[in-house]
């Protein structure tokens, strides 16, 4: 009987969906492994330490060295204080980060992926936790296959607890960049912190736990856009992890090679390079998107080469161009020479150019700003003695962490007198002095009066921070007056 619902699954084509094969990578030691440890320690130290650095800004501003103060829309970075309208500094830094990635990628391949990317760092960390609880590769594999029982459950729970603790400690620290760290720390543990803080910690802990603890290389291979971009940035002169197949193939065990030395290449097919790979790929199949250039396979193979008495570097950092040269028996180019080529120099020039312009802007920025909005309804007021009054709303901005005295004066409007709602017409003069509080924008209504008969015209408001020569700003404005009647 050919029942329609009885379709044999083996008749169907292989599904496009492949179930994840868990990776049980082996522990390995070597110079790249140690480099990874060093970078991990440095990155985490910077990440954890930065919010706790203090920077005295006096009583008017927070004394945290690096602080993104969203509530007051300020960004503090040591001596620099960025206001929202100066967001181009942040935009510039982001562009620099992007171009910096191009620069690094074109010079040394996917170094970001292999060493500095948080996903890589956390995957790495969690794989060490795996090893601590479950043992190395084979033990972990056995445990994975073993049926669920009290022992396995206990081990898993212990491991996940440590995952969670690490996720909390790393993800949670992020909030300290957005508020005064010691205060927030105290508030956090006493349960009085803002709900946003708890929510942020919860979200970051959960994502670290899931992405680093369970999804791991799936994030790199399927979710992350960088590999696509970075792969496109590579060219034949970029350093990438390469298996030198002309030297390694055909593979043969030491025994086989011993019997027949001429037939076999240097690879003894020991699979160590596959065993240590955190993304579970076989680099001998050539460059591939799953490779994050972490160089652990180099460490592994170098050790094997050492043990079998063969020259190291069967798997090594090499450019595709070098690979061709080596295949042809020529010596490889020096690495330094690879870095200095038109492409990297161009990236460096653009990157450095943006950096220098940002520095220039930073050096020349003033901390005083004036904007003027004219009252349009009514455009002018005729006073009883025939003089004409216009009203304006001025905004004086003091972008420094201390109150400053500023003077507003008028240029290009003969006979004009200025006063404001708190000064009074009786004290009207040619200029107005205000003390603008630290880090604030002060709004002020100003009245300007000119003698009878002054025609409508443009003029300039000038703002000068008293005693600071360079700290000034001006704004054009219109003065309206009655026309001919």
């Amino acid at each position: 009987m050919n029942k329609p619902d009885q379709i044999k699954t083996q008749d169907r084509p292989a599904s496009l969906y492949a179930k994840r094969e868990p990776v049980f990578n082996r522990r390995i030691d070597g110079k790249f492994r140690r480099l990874k440890w060093a970078i991990m320690v440095i990155c985490l130290a910077i990440y954890w330490g930065t919010p706790w650095l203090r920077w005295d800004r006096g009583p008017y501003a927070p004394d945290q060295a690096v602080l993104v103060d969203l509530a007051h829309r300020r960004f503090y970075m040591f001596g620099i204080e960025i206001w929202p309208h100066e967001f181009y500094f942040v935009a510039g830094l982001l562009i620099m980060a992007g171009i910096g990635l191009f620069l690094v990628t074109s010079a040394v391949g996917r170094a970001w992926c292999g060493y500095a990317c948080p996903q890589t760092v956390w995957t790495d960390l969690f794989q060490h936790v795996d090893r601590f609880f479950d043992g190395d590769r084979n033990a972990r594999f056995r445990l994975y296959k073993a049926p669920w029982g009290p022992a396995k459950i206990a081990r898993r729970l212990a491991k996940w607890t440590v995952y969670l603790a690490i996720s909390f400690a790393t993800g949670g620290a992020w909030i300290f960049y957005f508020a005064d760290a010691p205060t927030l720390q105290h508030a956090f543990w006493t349960g009085t912190a803002d709900p946003v803080a708890y929510a942020t910690v919860a979200v970051l802990t959960a994502t670290t736990f899931v992405l680093g603890g369970f999804m791991r290389e799936q994030v790199c291979v399927y979710m992350c856009p960088w590999p696509r971009i970075q792969t496109a940035m590579l060219d034949e002169k970029s350093l990438i992890v390469t298996y030198k197949d002309w030297r390694g193939e055909p593979r043969g065990s030491v025994k086989k090679a011993g019997k027949n030395p001429d037939r076999f290449g240097d690879c003894i097919d020991c699979n160590q390079c596959v065993a240590v790979c955190p993304t579970g790929i076989d680099i001998r199949e050539g460059p591939q998107i799953g490779c994050i250039t972490c160089a652990l396979c180099i460490d592994a193979c170098d050790r094997v080469m050492g043990e079998t008495g063969r020259p190291r570097g069967l798997i090594d950092y090499a450019t595709l161009e070098d690979a061709e040269r080596e295949k042809a028996g020529q010596p490889p180019t020096r690495h330094l020479k690879l870095i200095w080529r038109p492409r990297t120099m161009l990236y460096f020039a653009v990157w450095g150019g943006i950096g220098l312009s940002l520095l220039f802007l930073l050096g020349t920025r003033v901390h005083t700003d004036l904007t003027v909005a004219k009252d349009r309804n009514p455009p002018y007021i005729l006073l009883s003695d025939g003089s004409v009054r216009n009203a304006y709303t001025l905004r004086l901005r003091n972008m420094q962490g201390r109150p400053r005295k500023m003077e507003i004066s008028i240029e290009g409007l003969p006979g004009a007198k200025i006063w404001s709602d708190d000064v009074g017409m009786a004290e009207a003069g040619t200029a107005l002095t205000r003390i603008v509080p630290a880090d604030e924008t002060q709004s002020l209504r100003a009245y300007l009066v000119v003698p009878a008969g002054t025609p409508a015209q443009e003029f300039t408001f000038h703002l000068q921070a008293l005693g600071e020569a360079r700290e000034q700003d001006s704004a054009e404005a219109q003065f309206d007056a009655p026309g001919e009647q």
């Binding site: 008749d11 007021i381 005729l382 006073l383 009245y447």
Partner: protein
């Protein structure tokens, strides 16, 4: 193919050769649908939304009935929420309102925070009640005073503005209303057309809008006989009578000769409602503070008395 599953759909079900997948059994114009089940997580999400929707219908107002909708066990409604927010707003303002109610308006300038609150509230009340005549910018128009300038018919300090607001201008039935009447010099035949022309010429010289002429010199006498009673000998007006200052640059009813002649012949008498009947005292206080803040407000002490008016016993 004849067996228990012999329904028409089942009969037409078949395995699609290209993909080796079962079809769902219907076909339209040669196009068949492959039976590719939805992913399980998707289905569970879908079921979860159904459960959520049922829970939502129970908890919140949901089903339209003949009059109104089901109420929901939580008792929430958007109207109720609005009412709560309004109540909360009112409660939040209660202290300021109470403080304003207790504060004599003369003392308002000594309490800057309260003053600011009053100005803000007055600005809102002005937009509702006053813009129809005085304009959104309080600049008035011909016959409707500009409240931004420094020329006040009845006085420009807080207390006087408040009094004007409470009692209005020329409001019948209010004893304390601002009352003044310019006679119909022309229409009632009190002055001849020639005299009106002469006095108009004279008035225009007071503010420097016209040069002295033979006509204006004639007018000076007419003015002294008929107009100086209210407007003062020098034409500087009188706040006691709300008589405009004729020697300044501001003209309520127009400053051209025709305007002056028209006003002399058949005067325009502006009116303003007695807001004391319609608005509560706090709102009026706030309005007074707002009008005072527009740029022409006067101090209590320094209110300059026009030199040629007699001191009055009132206020």
């Amino acid at each position: 193919m004849a067996d228990a599953h012999n329904s028409p759909a089942a009969a037409s079900r078949r395995i699609d050769e290209a993909t080796n997948t079962e079809t769902v059994g219907h076909e339209w114009d040669g196009i068949e649908e492959l039976n590719t089940p939805l992913p399980r997580w998707w289905l569970w999400t879908f079921y979860a939304t159904i459960v959520f929707a049922i829970g939502y219908c129970v908890a919140y107002p949901a089903w339209p009935m003949i009059s109104g909708a089901t109420e929901g066990v939580l008792g929430w409604s958007s109207r109720g929420q609005l009412q709560n927010e309004l109540d909360a707003q009112q409660a939040a303002r209660a202290r300021t309102v109470a403080a304003l109610a207790d504060m004599p308006i003369e003392q308002l300038p000594d309490h800057p925070a309260l003053m600011r609150a009053a100005i803000a509230g007055g600005s809102a009340a002005f937009k509702v009640n006053c813009v129809q005549c005085h304009g959104a910018g309080a600049a008035g128009s011909k016959g409707y005073p500009n409240l931004n300038d420094d020329d006040w018919l009845w006085g420009g300090d807080l207390k006087t503005i408040e009094t004007t607001l409470i009692h209005g201008i020329r409001q019948p039935g209010d004893d304390a209303t601002r009352q003044s009447m310019m006679p119909n010099f022309g229409a009632d035949g009190l002055l001849t057309a020639e005299q009106i022309g002469q006095v108009a010429d004279y008035v225009l010289t007071l503010s420097g809008k016209a040069r002295a002429s033979a006509s204006s010199q004639q007018g000076a006498q007419v003015f002294a006989d008929n107009c100086a009673v209210c407007h003062g000998a020098a034409g500087k007006g009188s706040r006691q009578f709300g008589a405009p200052n004729l020697s300044d640059a501001i003209w309520l009813d127009g400053g051209r000769r025709e305007d002056v002649v028209a006003q002399l012949t058949r005067p325009h008498h502006g009116v303003m409602p007695a807001w004391g009947n319609r608005l509560d005292p706090v709102t009026i206080k706030m309005l007074a503070a707002y009008v005072h803040s527009l740029g022409g407000g006067e101090d209590f002490a320094e209110t300059p008395a026009p030199p040629d008016t007699q001191p009055t016993e009132a206020e």
